[in-house]
Amino acid sequence: MSRVFVCRDVVELITAYLEGELPADVREAVETHLSGCDGCTMVLEEFRRTIELTGRLDDDAVSAEQRETLRGAFRDWATA
């Protein structure tokens, strides 16, 4: 018997779907749903876009104190 998903199920599977982590039958059922559902297709595209936007962020910089702590640690190692 093939699976049938409703929107409420599909939105919870989007990350697993995008990461290619769904078993084949579940993936197929998600794709069947998406092909007939504009709402879920929109949310999927917005997830993709959100991921792309998140990828534009920079990570925090290393602070001056932190750099000092690390320098100390490396110095200890070099002189040990």
């Binding site: 929107c7 949310v43 936007l53 998140t54």
Partner: protein, 185 residues
Amino acid sequence: MELVEKLTPSMRRVARMFVSSDATADDVVGEAWLGVLQGIDGYEGRASLRTWIFRILVNIAKTRGQKESRSVPFATLAGDDLEQPTFDPTAFDTTGHWSTLPFDWRGLPEDRVTAGETLAVIRRTIDDLPPLQAEVIRLHDVLGWSSEEVRNALEITDTNQRVLLHRARAKVRAAVEEHLGSVSA
């Protein structure tokens, strides 16, 4: 040194999950890098280098946390909402289909979507997530680590990794939607 610059900010945040102060977290990061230098000959390449470095870090941070008698429940780190649906249940009718669709921001002008303000909203939203959700999305989507690297580095199961990532992304998507909906209204 490039690797040190690159990994230290996330190492510090991960250490901070287990220990009680920023200063102790800095210490833990220093100790971890020392451990890396001393142990690098034993690195067998079975995990990626950055995953291996994080394993060393997490071990040291956990030990330090235990010494401080600080025990942080998983739910505090991961968020206590993991069992809840990610989307507002009232958006769906009783059959589970959309009753209220989210705001469609796909057609907005590109420069509005990618404006610095949108990125600031994303950053703030991530900063406000429970620490483990925040770190999973940072490592995976900001720094581009694979799911496997993230789960090994943070010592979480693949299910937890996926759930945490999905929840984090859903909150970021919702925040972007709210932001773009308000500026285009």
